[in-house]
């Protein structure tokens, strides 16, 4: 995956997990570049893409701010679901499944569930 898409993906992930909320300011291009040693145009391009999707908004001279979250779950729902998933992973490990086994199983069930919805 290109660096630009990785950045887009990371911000979306943070929005999904509630780590970034509407009104929060994204780091400036300079701050990102100073950490990652990447081309600042890459950061600006990722922010433009997020803006195009309506997730963030750039305010000239002030920075880039989160406009809306993604993913339906509230923070409380997320905490509950996460707890359930942790218990499921625990059971899997007790049954002798390793990380790859669990990932495969999760992906399979996820795929099946959404296919049933479409059918």
């Amino acid at each position: 995956m290109s660096t630009y898409l990785q950045l887009v993906h990371q911000v979306k992930q943070a929005l999904r997990l509630g780590l970034l909320k509407p009104g929060d300011k994204l780091p400036t291009a300079r701050e990102v570049v100073d950490r990652l040693a990447i081309n600042p145009n890459t950061v600006l391009k990722a922010y433009r893409e997020l803006e195009r999707e309506g997730l963030v908004m750039g305010r000239p001279g002030m920075g880039t701010f989160v406009q809306r979250s993604i993913g339906g779950a509230t923070l409380a729902d997320q905490t509950r679901l996460r707890r359930g998933l942790t218990a499921w992973v625990q059971q899997g490990r007790e049954a002798g499944l390793d990380q790859e086994d669990l990932e495969a199983l999760f992906t399979l069930v996820l795929g099946d569930t959404f296919r049933e919805e479409i059918a």
Binding site: V33, D34, P40, N41
Partner: protein, 284 residues
């Protein structure tokens, strides 16, 4: 869009042999340009012409605005203290930005009272870069800035350089023969080979118009119209091609995107192929 750097049919001859022949490039402002090519391709000669250390034998080269140059053998005096290097820079350069130079060195934890010769290679590179940035150039030209640095120091120098770009919007031209150094940092590629410009263009556009195809050898003869095979290798019945200008291919090919490394290697191995914008075009 204005060009930050423009070379038109640039040629440089040393005595009887040509180091550069008919080089034309036009690079938009604010780009970070990676100049690559094998040893002896003319990279240093090209950079010296850009910064005005060499006079073109034919054609011309010009830059928009102030140019600063960081030569390959870091231009520092080992016996000087860092503060004395700064003082020298301030004397020699009218637009000198002493304040940001000091802030930069403090941020890097480089003591200005130390002699340059006592600093590590990475720190010397940072001091040289600080001196170049303090001149507040619109175009910063660096000849192999990462040569002889360990991976950590390379990362730190690139961080400093990219932060400088973020702060000022300057155009950067840097040469390297390590393509992986450029993948995260450069957005414009220039490939020099045998004194000629073989590739010049926006890296994302270049990657989008090149594909790598693997499949049975007999398919290689029936590529769609407009396809240009830049590089090809064969193993038994299997052919692997790097092609330009193809979007839809026979489904029997296994297709993948070319990486920057794939692209550079394929062109360097096929010196007669070229990927250049149309003469009038400046590119994206």
């Amino acid at each position: 869009m204005n060009a930050a750097l423009e070379a038109m049919s640039l040629g440089i001859r040393y005595k009887r042999s040509w180091a550069l022949r008919d080089c034309s490039v036009s690079i938009p402002e604010g780009r970070v340009v990676g100049l690559v090519g094998p040893n002896g391709a003319g990279k240093t000669t090209f950079l010296h012409a850009v910064v005005g250390l060499l006079r073109p034998t034919t054609g011309s080269v010009r830059t928009a605005g102030e140019v600063a140059f960081m030569a390959q053998d870091k231009p520092l005096y080992d016996g000087f203290k860092v503060a004395e290097m700064l003082k020298l820079g301030a004397r020699l350069n009218p637009g000198w930005d002493q304040e940001s130079a000091l802030a930069r060195l403090a941020g890097l934890g480089i003591p200005t009272g130390r002699k340059v010769g006592k600093l590590s290679g990475g720190q010397q590179a940072q001091v040289a870069l600080t001196l170049a940035l303090a001149r507040r150039p619109r175009v910063l030209v660096l000849d192999e800035p990462l040569a002889n640095l360990d991976p950590l120091a390379r990362h730190d120098v690139m961080r400093s350089l990219m932060t400088g770009v973020a702060e000022t919007g300057m155009t950067v031209v840097l040469s390297s023969h390590v393509v992986s150094d450029l993948a995260e940092t450069c957005d414009w590629l220039v490939v020099l080979n045998g004194g000629r410009v073989q590739v010049s263009g926006d890296i994302e556009d270049l990657l989008a118009e090149h594909l790598i195809l693997s499949g049975p050898v007999e398919l290689a003869g029936s590529l769609p119209q407009g396809a240009r095979v830049v590089g090809a290798s064969r193993a038994e019945r299997q052919a692997t091609l790097l092609v330009k200008g193809v979007r839809v291919v026979d489904p029997r090919w296994v297709v993948r995107q070319a990486s920057l490394d794939d692209l550079v290697m394929a062109y360097l191995r096929s010196p007669d192929e070229a990927a250049l914008p149309r003469p009038a075009g400046v590119g994206a």
